[in-house]
């Protein structure tokens, strides 16, 4: 097995009396695609928000490559090489596609407090932005304004913008949500391509897609991990079937 890239120890997020994430201890290994599944309200997105620094844990720790990152803010975590996409499309709507990726690529400069340098002359930033735009399949849409594009293209763009930050670890929060079959297929292919040289933590409701792309699976219910294992192990797990698959696979949104 490959070495551990990210691990959580008793990670907890409490909102009042409710624990959205309840003492979760998990390990994620390099070069694997680890999917987290579970019914709505299981705490999957909250878990991702904790990992990416959008949310501070109530208790527990997160270690990334051996370093405790549980108290770091979102921008610092991004700079360590953890990129994320959001469940609800989160891009720069007034920017063109290229500008979205340029901002992503430029974030890898040590800092952007350059006031009189021309941003357009940062050739490596521009190249990286164009490369990531090509990766997410939007090369021909460089100058389209993001808000004017189709929903599927916006989701692709978000992944492109994230790739421009050159992350090692990708946190993908329901990248297929709301997509048509053809669009979804394109994104699944993209994820499979990204799998070659990235570690990915994926939240997804589309079980067919998850079974195809995932190396490992974790099932969360009510903020707790109820099982972790390979796809085959999880499919065979009685407890998981009762708690989750029984009604969720069919009645999924």
């Amino acid at each position: 097995m490959t070495p551990v890239i990210l691990s959580t120890q008793d990670l907890t997020a409490q909102f009042g009396a409710i624990s959205a994430v309840d003492f979760v201890s998990l390990e994620f290994r390099q070069q694997q695609l680890h999917a987290i599944i579970g019914p709505n309200g299981a705490g999957k997105t909250t878990f991702i928000n904790l990992l990416s620094g959008e949310l501070m844990p109530t208790t527990g720790t997160i270690h990334y490559l051996g370093k405790d990152i549980s108290q770091l803010s979102a921008d610092k975590i991004s700079r360590l090489g953890i990129g994320r996409s959001f469940q609800k499309t989160n891009i720069f709507p007034t920017f063109s596609c290229l500008q979205n990726c340029l901002l992503g690529a430029q974030s890898r400069l040590p800092h952007s407090m350059h006031f009189f340098q021309r941003a357009s002359r940062l050739t490596d930033v521009t190249e990286r932005a164009q490369r990531s735009l090509a990766l997410c399949g939007l090369s021909d849409r460089e100058n389209s304004i993001a808000a004017m594009m189709s929903y599927g293209e916006q989701r692709q763009l978000e992944i492109g913008m994230m790739l421009a930050t050159e992350p090692q670890l990708l946190l993908l929060d329901e990248p297929l949500a709301g997509m048509g079959t053809i669009e979804a297929q394109r994104v699944i292919e993209l994820i499979q391509a990204l799998k070659q040289d990235h570690t990915i933590i994926l939240i997804e409701h589309d079980m067919q897609a998850v079974f195809v792309v995932a190396d490992r699976l974790t099932v969360m219910v009510n903020g707790k991990v109820i099982a972790t294992g390979t796809v085959a192990e999880i499919r065979a797990n009685k407890m998981v079937q009762e708690a989750f698959f029984a009604d969720e696979v069919i009645g999924d949104d």
Binding site: S52, E54, S73, A74, D75, K76, S78, R79, G83, R84, F86, K88, T89, N90, I91, F92, P93, T94, F95, Q99, L102, L103, G104, Q106, S107, R108, L109, S112, M113, H114, F115, F116, Q117, R118, A119, S120, L122, A147, M148, Y151, Q154, M161, M162, T165, G178
Partner: protein, 333 residues
């Protein structure tokens, strides 16, 4: 941020017209144009905040007035002081105040930010209102304009109204080019990202607080330049220059001209000053008409004069007006 080709030509034409104006216009109107240009710099500095960083500051007059006070304070009654140190000093004072006020306010957003910038600006206002050594509510006079001399050679005699006119025109053009350059820099990219979607900007690795803070400081310094020029021009400064009505008027001018365009606020300043000048001749209650105008702008002209011109020139009316609520960027699905 790049100006389109017709805009570039129009701007060049405008600068040329401004350059020959003192030779053709009456003195009274030349004075008026000086006022417009100074107000234009002030409004442009606020556009950097509202139009490009997405920070609706309601206390911008504080930085304008503060620099003016610094000039008045350092100028003795018997002679002018050198511009070479008094200008940087005044601008730095505004920058320092913006750094302190910004450090507290920039960490908040929305209504909080509006109220906090307003409250801090009032604090500066009350400070000068109660500072008897600096004239209290009456303010101060500036008896001599700053001097620009090297050794014994007078480089520019700002007491000459025409020389001063060109100095202000030069400052306006320099400010425009400077801010435009700033917006084309890596820094400019980040602040525009913050305006478009701050949480996303943070999530891709920018410590947005510092970028907003620096933007706030730069805008404060540019407002300081305008305040310095204003006091040089009028020869007086009083707490009224820092009052919240000034902050309100400059917001109106920015919106009237067109947010996020840089040159729009200068057009806004033009419209406002000319309107004020005309209305004041008719009635002492000109603010009543101004109030109605402000409401009409808020309701019907959120993209300002430049937005209106854009619509007429390019006939993209439908797409643009659908987008006019800058606050709600809906993700079209």
């Amino acid at each position: 941020m790049e100006f389109s080709r017709p805009v570039r030509w129009l701007l060049l034409l405008a600068v040329l017209l401004l350059a020959v104006f003192p030779f053709v216009g009456a003195d009274y109107y030349t004075e008026l144009v000086v006022r417009i240009m100074i107000f234009g710099i002030f409004a442009m500095s606020l556009d950097l905040l509202i139009g490009f960083t997405g920070l609706v500051s309601f206390g911008h007059a504080a930085f304008f007035g503060l620099a003016g006070y610094v000039l008045a304070i350092v100028t003795p009654e018997s002679s002018g002081v050198s511009l070479f140190w008094s200008l940087p000093l005044s601008i730095l004072a505004s920058g320092l105040a913006a750094a302190i006020i910004g450090w507290f306010s920039v960490r908040t957003t929305g209504i909080y930010f509006i109220m906090i910038t307003l409250a801090f600006a009032q604090m500066v206002f009350y400070y000068f209102q109660e500072a008897v050594q600096w004239g209290g509510s009456d303010g101060m006079f500036l008896f001599f304009r700053p001097t620009v001399t090297i050794g014994n050679t007078v480089i520019l005699d700002l007491e000459q109204n025409r020389t001063f006119y060109y100095f202000v025109l030069g400052s306006l053009v320099a400010s425009l080019l400077l801010v435009k350059r700033l917006l084309g820099s890596p820094f400019g990219r980040v602040i525009m990202g913050i305006k478009a979607n701050e949480s996303r900007t943070r999530a891709i690795g920018y410590a947005t607080f510092y970028y907003k803070w620096v933007s706030f400081i730069i805008a404060g310094m540019l407002a300081g330049l305008a305040g310095y020029l204003e006091v040089t021009h009028t020869g007086t400064i009083s707490p009224g220059y820092l009052a919240w009505h000034e902050s309100g008027i400059v917001i109106m001018v920015v919106v009237l001209g067109g947010l996020g365009t840089l040159y729009g606020p200068v057009i806004g300043a033009f419209v406002f000053v000319v309107l004020q000048d005309t209305l004041q001749d008719y009635t002492s209650h000109w603010l009543l008409i101004m109030g109605i105008l402000v409401i009409l702008i808020a309701l019907f002209l959120p993209k300002g004069v430049t937005g209106l011109l854009d619509q007429i020139l390019y006939r993209q009316g439908i797409q643009n007006t659908n987008n006019e609520d800058h606050g709600h960027q809906d993700h079209r699905t």
